[in-house]
Symmetry: C2
Subunit: 210 residues, 2 copies
DNA sequence: ACCTGAACACCGTTCAAGT
DNA sequence: ACCTGAACACCGTTCAAGT
């Protein structure tokens, strides 16, 4: 509870915070233990006192990126609304830092970080008396879709930023509807689709007698 | 059409095929240009005549892994069935090689490989006169969910294989229903959910007058 | 057309030793 | 408790030169 006295955890968090700054400024490929050490004015080997290895450090950075998810109020929402809100909130978190989605994607897959949507979604579904099983499945679907789609999206953004002159796409009469992939609109549509699917599952479950 | 005469593409494909073998046997972290060169009896620099860089080589390997998707017949299926079949077929492809899902996940995100489900799904939805927009959104949702979930699943399998003694999980009375994550059953449930969601989207679209 | 040899500019991690 | 110094065992990539 008393945080200012204890300086023990401080420097560990400082390392993760500096890593996040470097990530945002130079990207994941340049987030090396050596660069990070230099930015902290320390030898690379010093980092291994705070973290057992690089993946653990990256997991800590992932948690910083996902921190806003914990304070996303999903109370008094319908199940449908909760899926859409939590999903798009997660997308915002991942887009907030350069290469954020790639970093979180791997930490998540390695199992070094817990689902950033599970708790919020289960809270809502429980209030609506939805069985946890259905809610867990939906939470997994939302998480994997959002992380995958946002990773893809962020990569395209980065590519466009490098080759600005290559394919300007020229938002003409048909606006952003060109290109091959999903934009923000498609993203919202997909979340709506998943929410619909969850509702159908719930209804079917109830008609079978809970 | 005549393949046996031309030896030009042969060696390029040989490189990708050997890379796939090394991937399956030693895993992605040990799939280095140097190991691959050694396995081919060649200098590392020789690989750069066939591929501009490692990512391009990995994309070629991804395509080998995804090749069976092209010959998955989705004809005369309902939209619902097609989503489930294509989704679980993709999962099988990714699980067929060690670290297959991780490799394909990154090639996909980098945009170096095209969607392994889009073509099949669009073929079916068109026969059922579903607007392409809905189908594209569903295809994205299916792809990202399957790749993400399978990546997660494959990583857990690998972890369990290393620490076999750590948590044997001991499939007791409640069978495989323990643990925190999604198993094969949850995977199928999630696909069903997405299929349901697509059906609702289609129905809503039609009631608005196509 | 396809490959070698040699180099460049890096990596993550360990570990004895310092303070 | 926290860090240095020095090393180990690697990486991907380039490029002149060979055949």
């Amino acid at each position: 509870m008393v945080a200012s006295v204890n300086s023990r955890r401080r420097s560990r968090d400082d390392v993760a915070e500096m890593a996040l700054r470097l990530l945002d400024e130079y990207g994941l490929p340049d987030l090396t233990m050596r660069h990070l050490a230099t930015a902290l004015g320390v030898q690379p080997s010093a980092l291994y006192w705070h973290f057992p290895n690089k993946q653990a450090l990256l997991a800590a950075v992932s948690e910083l990126i996902l921190a806003p998810m914990r304070e996303t109020p999903a109370d008094d929402l319908s199940v449908h609304e909760a899926v859409r809100l939590v999903g798009s909130r997660l997308r915002e978190c991942l887009l907030a830092y350069r290469d954020g989605s790639e970093l979180v994607s791997s930490s998540l897959a390695l199992g070094l970080v817990s689902s950033p949507v599970r708790a919020q979604l289960l809270e809502v579904t429980r209030r609506h008396e939805v069985p946890d099983g259905q809610a867990e499945v939906a939470a997994e679907a939302v998480m994997h879709f959002v992380v995958g789609a946002t990773f893809h999206e962020q990569q395209r953004l980065a590519a466009d930023q490098l080759g600005l002159l290559a394919e300007p796409v020229a938002p003409g009469p048909d606006g952003a509807r060109a290109g091959s992939g999903a934009d923000g609109g498609d993203f919202a549509e997909a979340l709506t689709m998943i929410a619909h699917g969850l509702e159908v599952s719930i209804a079917q479950d109830r008609s079978r007698g809970n």
